[in-house]
Every structure is written in C-alpha cells, then in structure tokens.
Point group: C2
Chain length 340, copies 2
DNA sequence: GTGAAAGCGCTAACAT
DNA sequence: ATGTTAGCGCTTTCAC
C-alpha cells in the first residue's frame, strides 16, 4: 500500500511548493497553465483526494448535517429521511444519522456528540420522551452556541428554530368532513399517540369538524390512549357494539387494527364502515381492501427541512429569523372509503 | 456569541500551556491533582468540547462508518440500518448514510465522497444496477487504498471483503418443505427480483426442495421476472387457474400481491392456499390473514456487519483475512399457513 | 508565477 | 509537573 497522496507528497514529487500545488488544483489564476496541467495530471495519476478532515478543520465547517430520528422503522420517518438525504447530497452535504428510539437521553447524547464540530447543524424530530418530559434545555444549549436546528413533524413550541410541520389539525377536519360527506353518522376517533403533539392536534381536528356540523363528540366513539394493549381491547369492544360507521385513525397502529378487527368481525368495508387513517408506508395499499389515508408527503418535508437548514448555514447574517413551513397533506382515497 | 472554547483559549485564560490543558483534560498522570481539577472545572464552565475534526486529523481516523443502502423505504434495509446504527454508536462510531437508490453512479459517488478521510470504512448492500452490470471496480479501488468494506445481503462474489449474508438458498428449501408438510402439492414460486443474487438463490432453493422430494418443477407454477407489471399480470392468470395450493414468494411485492389477489379471488387462506413470503416489515402481521414469513433478522445482520467492520478497523494487523457470516433466517408461522 | 509561513485545534514526543 | 515543539493536510496571506 503506497502512501496516500497529499499535497506535500505531490509537491515533493514534482519539485514545487505545497501552495503551488494547492492553487493549481483549485484552478487558481495565479498559476501558469503548464504548471496547472502538470499538477492536475499528476494528481489524477496518483488518485489524489483532498483530505476532508483537514479541509473542515481549516474552513471551520463540515458540510455535514446531523439528523436525529425517533424511529427509522416508521415509514413516515424513513420517507422524511430519504428526502433529507436527497436534498442534502444535492447541495454537497453529508448526513450523519442518529436514531433516538424515542429516548431523551439518546437524543441529548447524539446532539452532544455531534455538536463538537462534527456537523454544522441539526434536523430532527423530537423524541417522544422529550415531548412528554417537556425537556428543551439541550435544544436551547445548541442553539445558543450558534448551531442551527430545524425540527420537523414533532416540534417544541417554546424552542425558537426553523420548523417544518404538517397541518395535523386541518387534515383531521378534512378527513372527518369527508367521512360525513360519505354519509357516516357515527364517526370514531382512534389514537394511540395521545402523548404526542401531533396526536393531540389530530384529535382536536376531529372534534372541531364535528362541532362545525353541530354534532356532539360522543365519548364512546373516542379512544385516546398511549398504550397499544389498552387500545386493542377498547377497539374490539367498540367495533362489537355495531355503533360505528366511520373511523378516523390518527396513527399507524390504530389504522391497522381498525382494519384488522373490522375484517375479523365480518364488518363490510366500506359498505358498513369507512376508514381513513394517517399513514405513509406502502402497506396501506397492500391491505385488502386498501386503506384510504392522509399522506404527509414525507419526502417533501425532508427536502424542505434540508433546504431551510442549508439556507441558514450558507447565509452569514447575524440576525436570526425563524420560519415555520407547513407542508400540505393529501387525502388518498382508496377502497376503505369508496362506497359503491 | 462568545468565542468557542478551545485548548488555546483555556490555556490563555488559566495562564498555563496548551499541552498541560490537553493532558489535564485527558486525566493524564503527568498532571498534578490541583491543576487537573482547576482545568477540568474551568473547561466545564466554558462548556469546552474537543473539536472532532482536529482530533480526527491528528489521529488519521474518524470513528465514522459510511453506510450505503439501496433503499431505506424497504423495511429490511431499515432494520439492518437500525442494527448498524445501534452497534456503531455503542462502540463510539458515527454513521454517515447514503442511499444509492439502486443506482451504480450514486453508489460510486458516495464511496468517492466518503473515502477522502471522511469515514474509516464502509458497510453496504450492493445496488441493483451494480449487480446487473457486474461493476466491481469502485469496490476494488477502495479496498486497494486499504479501506475495509463489509457487504451485507447483496454481495459480489469476486470482491474480497467481509460479508454478512442470509442463507437464502436454505431458507427457501425449508419454506418449501414446510409447505409440503402442510400438504401442498402445487407450490408456486413467485419472484420479482430475479435480477438480484438473493432472488436467484431463493429460486434455486425452491427447485432443490422439490427435487429432494422427487417432484418436478412445473413451469406454469414459476413466475420469475424483474418487472412488477409483468408479474401482476402473470400472477392473476396463475391464481385464476385454481391450480395452486401453496406459494413461496421471495420478495415483498410478490408476497403482497399473492395475498391481495388471492383474497380478491375469494380463495380461502390458508384452507385452500398456503402462502409464505420473504418479508421483514410489520405489515405482514397487519394483513388479514396475517402472512407467514421468512424473517431475515435485519437488526442482527446490521449489528454483525458493524462488529466485523469495527474489528477490522481496530485490529492493526496487515494480513487481511475475510470472513463471511451467515445469519440464520426464521420461519414465522402466521395465519397464511395455519391449517385449522 | 511561485514559494514561505502561519494557523485551523489537537496530540504526543521530547525537553525542562 | 509543566512547557515547547512539531505535525496531521489544507488554505491563504504575504513575500519574492
């Protein structure tokens, strides 16, 4: 294994100075054509690649973004991640990823580890535990050090930074309106994520839509919890009652179980029961009947977040202003709401 | 925003030399207790964090792993990724991720970008295009530079590096044996990934299992393609014939469609048709009936890959030996194979 | 047009 | 026990 090509090595081989080599390789006008060509050709021959660490150290920036995601197995986050990765790469940034697994400690640890000059800024969705505990100190610390953060989907109100969110409230309103238009009178709300900001917003949208139509929110039609076991038991009871003809499920587990239990109980979908779920993975199409969903446009959210962060990184201004971008959702009608 | 704390800054503030500060912070025995304490307390006060780039430059290693994944939306890769991330973090490594999107160009570009001292080694699953074109030069180039690579799942035979694979062949054999044990006589093979190494191995396992039982491979029972449209059309025809009572589906699309088409045609699962699919996501449990799967233990594959790479990185030996680890699969029996 | 030198922040061998 | 120095690989200012 021959020694790695460096400026020093090349300069020695060619009998010229390091700075000349450096300038020649960056196509500086200070260098004569013949020298440039000679250096560039030799560099290619030696398979020279400028050392990134050295450059970063010199430039005091890494062109790297730290991404912290609660759970990559969740298709929504996987989609957002792919959007971030795509947009970042397109602008010449690398992406370092940590998975918080919904743990506050891991989230904090990741930020500590990466804020040491490893990344230029963060894109993240707040861990469940962080939201429940309402911990914001680690975010504020990083921001105070002058490192920008962009939060997406799960954000914290009292942290001042750029945010990319989905209009959860409005999406629920629309979904419920749609169900009513289909003739549903007894619309249930199913939530296993009532401990998350997004879960609460979606539930509020459900209530608002009913109120808008002068209908009351019936307790027996509402399942709000953060325990899947609790949820499953209550769902079975609810669907056994026969007193439901429409469902808005605000998370994947709720959506899935609504379909499964209904099918098992022989309830005809969509004839007797229409179901709309918040969901992003391909699996909603794979179910039979396929599930109508509110899609959150994960990739766009990721791209937007990356765009916001990179803009901030590349603008040298000292007066920070914070933007919140709302990405529209889309109701994708599939077989679980198509009345024939 | 006050200037970032550095060794230099601290040494100036405290009126001692940089190296004393450095040693004090790393708890060197050369430094007196009082000084250590003074330095450490001041450093904490100033929120000092050693600059990673500088350390990396000095050490000529980054404690960072480059991960290249064909598609993060595929639950199998998402699971492997989470395994890599977990194991890497546990050993103090960061993970930089690129998504090749099955493109050879992107895969190569990622390796070029990261091999410049940004990462210490790679973990990757070969892009589909790379496999079809049988391009191996970019791998060999990196390896020749002394940077280790661990390939998982989709590997290349003639690249000498560590590998973590699943015993695709044997898994298929077992699955088919299981179907035969359930009494299936007309077992179909469904594959949409016949252009991938894993797809071919799984198909071979199917054939072997039949041969082992002195049964012939019937052409009409075999759908091997790399086009989903082609697949869907042929599948519908096959299931309409009624001449199938067992299915081995070797990829997610095939598994999904087998279930969907069968349900739509009113074929009773598992009474009239048993289905086993290669699949990893939670969605197999979400289907009704739930799908029996061959699970590939994604997280374990990822952890093993990370372990292999880190071992190589931390062993200074100059004689490279290459290991191939086979991670066992597991047949998860669910409702699509349970005869009542 | 080319080169010398300083410095990014850190470590470590080598003084003192 | 503390300090000096050199150097990781690169960029950039300033001389020549």
């Amino acid at each position: 294994m021959k020694p790695k090509a460096t400026l020093k090595q090349i300069s020695k081989d060619l009998g010229i100075s390091v700075s000349t080599v450096s300038k020649a390789l960056s196509d500086s006008h200070e260098i004569s054509e013949p020298t440039k060509i000679r250096v560039q050709e030799y560099a290619k021959l030696q398979n020279y690649k400028p050392n990134t660490m050295a450059k970063n150290l010199k430039n005091q920036r890494t062109n790297t973004i730290g991404v912290i995601i609660p759970n990559i197995l969740n298709p929504f986050f996987a989609k957002v991640f792919s959007g971030i990765e795509k947009a970042a790469n397109a602008k010449g940034y690398n992406v370092i990823t940590y998975i918080s697994n919904e743990s506050h400690a891991k989230e904090k640890q990741a930020m500590d580890l990466l804020s040491n000059g490893t990344v230029d800024g963060f894109i993240l969705s707040v861990a469940q535990e962080t939201q429940s505990l309402h911990e914001t100190q680690h975010f504020k610390d990083i921001l105070r050090e002058g490192m920008p953060i962009v939060m997406f989907d799960r954000t914290m109100e009292d942290v001042s930074c750029d945010k990319v969110i989905v209009d959860d409230f409005e999406s629920s309103v629309e979904a419920v309106n749609h169900l009513m238009k289909l003739g549903c009178n007894k619309i249930a709300l199913l939530s296993c994520i009532d401990n998350l900001s997004v879960g609460k917003h979606r539930a509020l949208g459900y209530e608002r839509a009913l109120q808008d139509h002068k209908r009351s929110v019936e307790d027996y039609l509402v399942i709000k919890t953060d325990s899947e076991e609790d949820f499953d038991a209550r769902l079975k009871k609810l669907l056994s009652s026969g007193e439901v003809d429409g469902i808005l499920a605000v998370d994947e587990h709720a959506s899935t179980m609504a379909m499964k239990v209904a099918i098992q109980k022989g309830i005809k979908i969509p004839e007797e029961l229409c179901i709309i779920g918040f969901a992003d993975g391909v699996w909603s199409r794979r179910l039979t009947p396929s599930l109508s969903t509110i899609s959150q446009h994960g990739p766009e959210i990721g791209e937007e977040a990356a765009k916001l962060l990179i803009e901030k990184l590349e603008r040298k201004q000292e007066i920070p202003t914070f933007k919140t971008t709302v990405v529209k959702t889309e109701l994708r009608q599939r077989d679980s709401t198509r009345r024939v």
